[in-house]
Symmetry: C2
Subunit: 231 residues, 2 copies
Amino acid sequence: MFDIIAFDADDTLWHNEPYYIEARHELEQLLSPYQPASVVERRLLEIETHNVNLYGYGIKSYTLSMIETAIELSGGRVSGAEVRQVLELGKRMLSASVHLMDGAESTLAALRQEYDLMLITKGDLLEQGDKIERSGLAGYFRRIEIVREKTARGYRELLESHNIRPERFLMVGNSLKSDILPVVEIGGWAVYIPYEHTWAHEHPAGEVSHFGYHQIERLEELPGLLARLKQ
Amino acid sequence: MFDIIAFDADDTLWHNEPYYIEARHELEQLLSPYQPASVVERRLLEIETHNVNLYGYGIKSYTLSMIETAIELSGGRVSGAEVRQVLELGKRMLSASVHLMDGAESTLAALRQEYDLMLITKGDLLEQGDKIERSGLAGYFRRIEIVREKTARGYRELLESHNIRPERFLMVGNSLKSDILPVVEIGGWAVYIPYEHTWAHEHPAGEVSHFGYHQIERLEELPGLLARLKQ
């Protein structure tokens, strides 16, 4: 039924968003002499959104946006020592350990018996490469692709380059915008596993209704769903 | 004789290092109230080298290292407005136009008549992807690979995944460490085109002597060299 089951990585196989939220809380703390937390939260999101076209995704981009936020919200009064703390926040994020989602490893181990597995993640090449290595999951995947953006066109090109027909391709992920909608758009299958802290940018408009679309609550439900789809 | 001729991008097909040098000069200017230019130059290189394992290559990494240098060399006295200038330096680098090397386009156009061409560049996925797009050269390449590091193992895996035998692979680049030595190590061919400002990290120890190794001074000499090799 499927030639390849592909997984997103951040917030699908391992936790990612909590590190960003934790760093934001530390920034709010650091900037509390200048502005209330709610202002820091809102302005950081705006600056991040504005910078994403130039900087892309990832921790280095986030660090640069945090520094920009600190300068702006302090009216330029932020000290060298405070900016250094932001740099250190970023470095801590870059070397943080990878926490797998419940059941990630056992689910991949079970599925690998029957399917070829692939990892398709977007973001910074070095950061994602490091996380994949540290996750200990690399060995489960026949292919690992780190891409700039996950668009319908991007998926189409990826599948073509691997000679995979969309109707035999299943993507599993936590982002409707990146993992689900573009895949059903090109005629593939998609399993949505919402993550509690999904990033505000990622919320799409409307609802998904498509024969290839399914939703589960936890990664461990995936083998059961695939067994039902095969019937 | 060759199935693929692969090119490095930065400082082989287009200028890259001058943008870094120019940004460094602006940083030296900015930090002149705190330290002499020679100290800034030396300390920035040390901080960059130290950070490269965590940050990787690219403009965002360089910007973060410039900010760290500014904080350290000012003894924390650098102002928010000064840090903002460093952020802006980085943003300017990210959106700078791409200046092709002399003869880049005509050389690729000529070689494409006879060979499959490939681009193999390391660095930040988003930054390199943008530059390739803006260079206008993407259409000359059958394959474009953006990789984390250019090592013998990396080239071996890349060639295997494309079913290319090393003895039928030729790599063209300006870095002995990244483009030349690992390729001759795995039994491939390599053409070295030194760039005047090659980054200090890239200088290897010793000299290269290998049947597959050749050096030219300008990209435009490449078709002539290939014609001689074929005889």
